[in-house]
Amino acid sequence: MTVLATAVRTGVERPLPDETVPIQRRSEWLNPGDELRFAELYDAHYPKVLAYLISRAGRQLAEEAASETFVVAWRRFGDLPHDPLPWLLGVARNVLRDSHRASVRYEAAVEQFQHWAETTTGDVADGVVDRSEVLRAVAELADQDRELLILTAWHAMSARDAAQVLGCSRATFFVRLHRARRRLAAKLLGASTHTSVVASERTPK
């Protein structure tokens, strides 16, 4: 695919605004196996993309956005980075943002977390607090704070990858994450008598 790129590159400027209509449909240049490889990509990453979207906007909006995300991925198949997940989540995030108003997404996400809080049982391993309690506290966070914690804790993303998803610098990410942790800690402090966890909250390394 990269080759065609060169084939068509004439170094000639094209007008704006357009979304740069491709000169040559690259499907003609793709290997027959590309559909297969794309299906593998879908299988490998769909669950995480969908989960992320559900945490952002509830299940109903998430399924449509996940579908759209993979349409975009197919259109850009061949340009995908070696580890495509942060890229996919970044696309998913944009799809969601462009498809639904913030208030709609926010309410759906809160509802989703409340649902999880009602259906999730047990304590965290440390035994200091109910899982449902944590989920309720996360539900009360601002959208932005919640997202940072979900990417970090539920998707186990490195700061670098999470920053890529969010489209911000790593430094900015750390600052925001620090604040998000602090605000969640404050909420848990208000909700729980177990303060030891909260007290140990500190700035990130």
Partner: protein, 369 residues
């Protein structure tokens, strides 16, 4: 060690947080994706509006070898004093004309055997960009070989190979560079891209046989087939009119546009010797073109160059040059350098040669890979 708050959140994750799609949804999603051709996504833009840049053509490789051409027009500023390499001869039009006409005559004299069915272009593309979120200036190299049928019928071949990256300044042994990433919707307000890691290690060659390719080239907004390129006028005045027409609508400096398209015709597009000769003559008539009688390309190959500096206002100014062998009229390279940094080339200091398209062989052949 995990932050205690992160650990709390992690352990509260619902048990069914991630689930595979059901079969129906999977089928629907894949069918929906495959309904659009792959590779039709938005291309990477290298600037922010209103200084709009379009990667010319379809540079899918991260080697942003695609020329990012500023669309801001700033006519009348083609002759900047601060060219990165001051031409060694006075830019007298007569000298430019003399050299280019000689090259034109040489180019016109070449012939292609009638049996040569394929246009074969073999090049090394070098690009330089600032490391994403880092200090290093990263150079990336890629070789590309293309075979396209003269009559637009039959298969084409391409072999592309990443030849590795290196830091020109800043050191390190692996770097992240920006790669194209989609904006989810056409017209999305901000460019969105991602990064990928490159190292000094070369990639494997990627050989592809392509059954049909209708119009693989573009001049301006017009797509052209190999045969259509072959039918371009071989008279300089008519060629100029035609190239400007093909480039419409173009908000750019027409001189820069002409220099760009003409250089492409000489350096890497399939054309006839007569069109190539006309292109050389056309170059001689572009105001502001300067002559570098003795220079060399990024591979150190000696040649003569014609150069044009274009000022794009806040986007910066760049110099583009076509390097060729004046005796044979054969192209050596097309290169671009920063004259004055601006928003178009973030992080690149003046004088940086941010693009070199080095032609190894180009011409008509009977052989295919």
């Amino acid at each position: 060690m995990k932050h205690p708050i992160d650990r709390l959140v992690e352990q509260s994750r619902p048990d069914d947080y991630t689930q595979p799609p059901d079969a129906d949804r999977r089928d629907r999603d894949l069918a929906r994706a495959f309904a659009v051709p792959a590779g039709t996504g938005a291309r990477r833009r290298r600037s922010v509006r209103p200084v709009a840049f379009v990667v010319a053509g379809l540079a899918t490789c991260s080697v942003a070898a695609a020329i990012a051409i500023p669309l801001l027009n700033n006519p009348g500023s083609s002759n900047l004093e601060a060219t990165p390499t001051t031409p060694t001869a006075s830019p007298r039009a007569a000298a430019v004309r003399s050299v280019l006409f000689e090259a034109a005559a040489a180019a016109a004299g070449t012939t292609a055997p009638n049996s040569a069915r394929y246009w074969h272009h073999s090049s090394l593309d070098i690009s330089v960009e600032r490391e994403a979120a880092g200090p290093a200036l990263i150079e990336q190299r890629r070789t590309v070989d293309l075979w396209l049928p003269r009559d637009d019928a039959g298969a084409s071949w391409s072999i592309s190979q990443f030849q590795g990256a290196r830091a020109l300044t800043g050191g390190g042994d692996r770097w992240r560079v920006a790669v194209g990433a989609p904006c989810p919707k056409p017209g999305a307000a901000k460019p969105c891209w991602t990064t990928k890691e490159v190292t000094s290690r070369a990639g494997a060659p990627d050989k592809q046989r392509i059954e049909t390719v209708a119009k693989p080239f573009a001049i301006g907004s017009t797509n052209l087939s190999v045969a259509e390129l072959g039918r371009l006028p071989d008279n300089p005045a008519e060629l100029k009119t035609k190239l400007l027409a093909l480039s419409q609508p173009s908000p750019g400096d027409p001189n820069a546009t002409l220099f760009e398209t003409t250089s492409a015709l000489i350096n890497r597009l399939p054309t006839t010797p007569a069109v190539r000769a006309a292109a050389f003559q056309l170059l001689a008539g572009i105001p502001g073109v300067q002559l570098l009688p003795k220079t060399s390309d990024a591979l150190g190959r000696p040649g003569t160059a014609v150069a044009l500096t274009t000022d794009h206002g806040p986007a910066g100014a760049h110099e583009t040059r076509l390097i060729f062998d004046p005796q044979s009229g054969k192209p050596l390279a097309y290169e671009a350098r920063i004259v004055r940094p601006g928003t178009a080339w973030p992080g690149l200091p003046p004088g940086t040669r941010y693009l070199a398209e080095l032609t190894k062989t180009t011409g008509w052949t009977t052989a295919t890979p």
